[in-house]
Symmetry: C2
Subunit: 551 residues, 2 copies
C-alpha cells in the first residue's frame, strides 16, 4: 500500500488514554440513573436496562484468567474522524484482557449485522488503520435497526460467532437503537451485550455525561483551517464576501465552534433564528446591514458562516415547504394540474394555491430557488431541502437588499460574492490528537464495559479539557439520556438531540463578541491540524468545550 | 492582536537558507545569456538589460562600511503563500548589510507606486507577518505597469524616498513589466534598480533557472489535503463521484501535482486536451467510461480533478465562445435582435446564427450552461469563462452519457455527484516550511542583487529538492526568459508561460499510472501541512519538482 509520509509517521502514534485505563481497571458503581424526562414511560419500555448506575473506572488489581471476549463492531451513519481509533481501542482492550479475544467488523453498517456480512479484524488490518480518517476499514451504512426480525438476524450471527457483545458506533439515533437492541436481548435472557459509542461531527450528541461526540473536534478544525485561509484571502484581496455553508442539518454547533475559532464577520445560528422566529427577510436584512456598515469603512469584503440546515429553522420557510409538500404531493389533483402548467406560469399558479403568507415568501425568493422548491422533489414528492443552496439564496437576496439600500442612499459599496460548502472536506480527515486519543479511549472503555458484562451502556470519557491522563472513563446507561419524542406520528423513546443552547456559555460568548467581529476585522487564522508540535498547538480541543467546562 | 496558537509558534520559525546566504556573499558572474527565442528583437528592445550574465552566490569576505540601501517592495497580482516571507527576507538582508537601510511597501499593488501610496516596513510590522499567509501586510493589486507616465510617477516617488531599488513580486506578466521598468530607468541613466521575484500558485512561471514559483508548493499541499480527505470519504461512503475543480486558468500544473500526490481516478490536463484536439464529447466519454468500468467492480464512487481553465483548451468550445462573442457583441444588430427574443427561443435563434459545428456544440450543452454562455457577459459583451461551472457541466454531461450507455447495456450502476471548487482555500494559507524557506531565501537573494547594483534580474534559488543548505542562490536576467508573443494584436516581449510539458517527467509519470489509478482505488491521503515533525513530512517539496529533478 502506497501511503503518504504523514500517514507513515502517524501510524506510530500511540494515543494517550486516561490513567485509569493504563493498568488493570476496577469498575465503580455510581448513583442509579433516571432518564432526562418521561421517566415512567421509559422505565416501562426498558425494564431490563432502565435505572442502571453510572459506572466509573479506577485503577484496580489485575484479575487473572480472564476469558477471551468476542466482540462485533458496527459503524453507523455518516463518517466522522476517529472511527478507526475506536475500533483499535476495542481491539487492544480485548486483546490485553486475553490474547484469544476476537474482534469482528460488520460490513457496511448495521445492514452487515442483519445480512451476516463481516470480517475478522486481525492485528495487521488494525495496524493499517490506526490514527487514520475514514470509515473504510469496514464501511458504514444507514440501515436502521428498528425491527424484531433484524434483532433476531443479529442474534443468529452473534451466536454463530459466539459474540459477547456488539459495539455500535453512531449518532443519537444509532445509540437509541443500540439501547433498544440491548433491552431486546436482555429481555430474552440472551448474553449478547450492546454498547454504544458517541459519534457525529455535528456535535449534537452530548449531555452531562457525554461531553462531546467524536469527530467534532477534527472536522471543525479542518473547516476552521479553510475559513481562516479564506479570511486571510478576503483581507488581502479586499474584493469579495465569502459565503460559507457548513455541513450539519439540525444543529449549529459546527458553525458556532468555527466562529469561535476564526472570528468571522457574520455567523448565523439556526437555533437563534428559530427562537426569535425570524423571517427570511430579517435574516437577509441583518446580513445586508453588516455588509453596508463595513462598506462605510471601505471594507467591501468579509466572511459569513451559514449552517446547512438554516432554511428549516426559519418558521415561514418551514410553513412554505410544508404547504408545497401538501400541494404538490405525488398523485394529487393539484400536482397533476401543476405538471401541465407552462414553466413561466408555475410560480403564479402555486402562489394562488397556498396561503397568502407563504405566497409572499415564495414570491420574495430568487427565481432559481423558487423553481428548485417546486421542482426538485424526492420520490415522495417532498421538497429536497438538502439540495437548496442556502448560501447562494442568501447571497442573491443580500445583493437585492443592498440594491434597495443603495437606491435609498443607505449603502455605498461593491458587493461581490464567492460561495463555498464545507462538509466532505472534514468528515474523513485523519483525527486530531484529541480525537485520536478520545476515540481510542472510548473504544478501550467499551472493552472494559464489555468485560464486566454490562449492556445498554454508552462508553463515556469526561473531563476532556484536562490532559488525557486526568480524563474520567466509564459508562453511562443510554436510557439516562432518553425522553419521549414524536417520530413519524408516534411517541418514541429517543436520545435527546443537543441543539445549541442560547443560554450556554459558547453561544453567550459568541453573542457578546459578534458585533465587534462584524464591523472590525478580527479574523483569526488557525492553520492546519498539527500532530507533532507544542502541546498548546497539537493537543487542545474545541473552544466549545473550553467555554462549557469553564462554567 | 488575537492570533492562533499555531501562528504564535510559527512566528518563531527561522527560515532555512542556502549556505551561501548565511555569511558575507560574493557574486560570481556566469555565462552571458540570451533570450529563449527571438534574440535579435529582444536584444533591440532591451539594449541595457539584454545579454547580462547569470549570477551565482558564494561565500565571500565581509565588506565593511556598506552604504544603507533603500528598497521599495510591491506585491502584484493574485495571492500566493509566502509573500510575507519574501518581504521579511529582503528586510533582514538589507538590514544586515547596514542597519540604516530602509524598506518601503507600496500599498495595494503596482498602483501604490503610481499613486505614491506606501508605508515604511519597520521591524515590528515585519515581525507580525513572518511565516504567515496572505498579502495583507501591504496588499496586492492588478494594475499593470505598462506606460511611460506610470514609470515616471514611480521614479518620482523613488527619488523622494531615495530608493536604490524596487522589488516586484509577481507572476510572468508582472516580472515582464519589472524588466521593462528596469530597462526604462537604465536607459534614462537613473540609478533605480528593479528586481523581480517569481510568484504564482499556478506554477506556470518556471524555466531552466527558475525551478518553481513560490506558493505552488503550499497551495497544492492544501488542495491535496482536501482531495485526500474527500477521497477517504468517497472510499468510506461509496456513494458519490466527487468532481473537484482546481484554480488556475492557463496551466494544469496544480491538477497534475495534486494528482501525483493523491492518485485520484480521473485528472484532466488542459494541455493534453488541446494537444489531442479533443472535443467536449470525447472528454465526457473518457470520464463516463471510467465511471462505467468502476461500476462493473461495484465501485460507484470516485474522484475527478478538473482544471479551472479546461473549457478554453477544448478547441470547439474556444470557437463557440469566440463566435458567441462576435454575435452578441454589445451594440451590434444581432445583439439587439437577440435581446428581444423570448427566453425559450434564444438557443434556437443563436444556433441558426453561428456555424453549424458550433451550433452542434451549443445544442449538446446542458440548458443552464448554454444560457450562461449566452447571457452572463462582461461589460465588453464577452462570455465570462471564469463563471462557467466546468465541474457541473462535466458532471451533467457524464450523467447524460451514462444514461445513453445504460440504454445500450454498457453501464450498470448509480451515478451521484458532489461538486467542489478549491482555490481561495489555498492562496493565502500559511506557507509550508518549503515556501517559508524558499520565499525568505528569494527575498534575501534580492537584497544581495540590489546591494551589488544589479537591475533587470529575477531572484533565483535552485537545487530546491536538496536540503536548503545546498540550494543555489543567484540572479537571472529577466530577458533570458523572454520571447515575442502576440498580445492584444501586437507582438510583445514577454516571459514564456510554462504550460505542462507533455514530454516532461511529471506528466509522463502520471500518464503511465493513470489507468491503474482510474480503475483501482489507489488513493493517497496526504493530510494537512505539518510544520514541526520529521523532515520527510515537513520539509519535502512537490512531486513535480522531484520528478523534474530526477531527470
Amino acid at each position: 500500500m502506497n501511503i503518504s509520509a504523514l500517514q507513515k509517521e502517524r501510524a506510530k502514534y500511540q494515543p494517550k488514554v486516561p490513567k485509569s485505563l493504563t493498568g488493570a481497571v476496577k469498575l465503580v458503581e455510581g448513583a442509579k440513573t433516571e432518564s432526562v424526562a418521561d421517566q415512567a414511560e421509559i422505565a416501562k419500555l426498558f425494564p431490563n436496562t432502565y435505572g442502571m448506575p453510572l459506572i466509573s473506572f479506577e485503577a484496580g488489581e489485575v484479575k487473572k484468567d480472564r476469558q477471551p471476549l468476542n466482540v462485533g463492531v458496527i459503524l453507523s451513519g455518516g463518517q466522522a474522524p476517529g472511527g478507526h481509533n475506536v475500533i483499535s481501542g476495542i481491539f487492544d482492550g480485548i486483546k490485553k484482557l486475553n490474547p484469544e479475544s476476537k474482534l469482528y467488523g460488520f460490513l457496511g453498517g448495521p445492514g452487515g449485522l442483519v445480512d451476516h456480512k463481516y470480517i475478522e479484524l486481525t492485528a495487521d488490518i488494525i495496524d493499517d488503520y490506526r490514527n487514520t480518517g475514514g470509515f473504510d476499514i469496514i464501511g458504514s451504512g444507514r440501515t436502521k435497526l428498528e425491527e424484531d426480525w433484524q434483532y433476531d438476524k443479529g442474534l443468529e450471527i452473534a451466536k454463530d460467532l459466539d459474540l459477547n457483545s456488539l459495539v455500535i458506533i453512531g449518532g443519537d439515533d444509532s445509540n437509541t437503537n443500540a439501547c433498544v437492541l440491548a433491552e431486546y436481548y436482555a429481555a430474552k435472557g440472551e448474553k449478547l451485550q450492546v454498547i454504544g459509542c458517541p459519534k457525529t461531527i455535528d456535535g449534537d450528541l452530548k449531555n452531562e455525561m457525554i461531553e462531546t461526540s467524536f469527530g467534532f473536534d477534527t472536522a471543525t478544525k479542518v473547516y476552521s483551517e479553510l475559513i481562516g485561509n479564506i479570511q486571510r484571502d478576503a483581507n488581502s484581496a479586499k474584493k469579495y464576501w465569502h459565503f460559507i455553508k457548513l455541513m450539519g442539518r439540525s444543529a449549529s454547533h459546527i458553525g458556532l465552534e468555527c466562529a469561535l475559532k476564526t472570528q468571522p464577520n457574520i455567523t448565523l445560528i439556526s437555533e437563534e433564528v428559530e427562537e426569535k422566529q425570524q423571517t427570511l427577510d430579517e435574516v437577509v436584512t441583518y446580513m445586508a446591514e453588516i455588509v453596508a456598515k463595513r462598506a462605510e469603512n471601505g471594507d467591501n469584503f468579509g466572511v459569513a458562516l451559514i449552517p446547512e440546515g438554516l432554511i428549516e429553522f426559519i418558521p415561514e420557510m418551514k410553513i412554505l415547504i410544508s404547504e408545497l409538500n401538501d400541494l404538490l404531493a405525488e398523485g394529487t389533483d393539484s400536482e397533476k394540474e401543476f405538471k401541465h402548467l407552462k414553466k413561466s406560469h408555475r410560480v403564479e399558479w402555486v402562489s394562488e394555491h397556498i396561503t397568502p403568507d407563504s405566497a409572499k415568501v415564495l414570491l420574495s425568493l430568487p427565481t432559481g430557488i423558487a423553481n428548485q422548491l417546486m421542482l426538485d422533489r424526492d420520490p415522495h414528492g417532498n421538497v429536497q431541502v438538502s439540495l437548496i443552496e442556502t448560501e447562494k439564496l442568501l447571497g442573491e437576496m443580500v445583493d437585492t437588499k443592498l440594491a434597495e439600500m443603495k437606491e435609498a442612499g443607505q449603502y455605498v459599496g461593491k458587493f461581490g460574492t464567492q460561495y463555498h460548502f464545507f462538509g466532505y472536506e472534514g468528515r474523513c480527515a485523519a483525527p486530531s490528537n484529541f480525537d485520536a486519543d478520545y476515540c481510542y479511549s472510548l473504544g478501550y472503555t467499551a472493552s472494559v464495559l464489555i468485560s464486566d458484562g454490562l449492556t445498554g451502556y454508552m462508553a463515556s470519557v469526561r473531563n476532556t479539557t484536562a490532559p488525557a491522563d486526568d480524563w474520567i472513563a466509564g459508562g453511562v446507561p443510554v436510557t439516562m439520556m432518553m425522553n419521549m419524542e414524536k417520530r413519524h406520528g408516534h411517541m418514541k423513546p429517543v436520545i435527546q438531540k443537543a441543539l445549541v443552547e442560547l443560554d450556554g456559555a459558547p453561544y453567550k460568548y459568541f453573542k457578546s463578541k459578534r458585533g465587534e467581529w462584524a464591523y472590525n476585522t478580527c479574523f483569526i487564522y488557525p492553520g492546519p491540524i498539527q500532530y507533532f508540535g507544542p502541546t498548546e498547538v497539537c493537543d487542545v480541543t474545541t473552544e466549545t468545550l473550553k467555554l462549557e467546562q469553564a462554567k
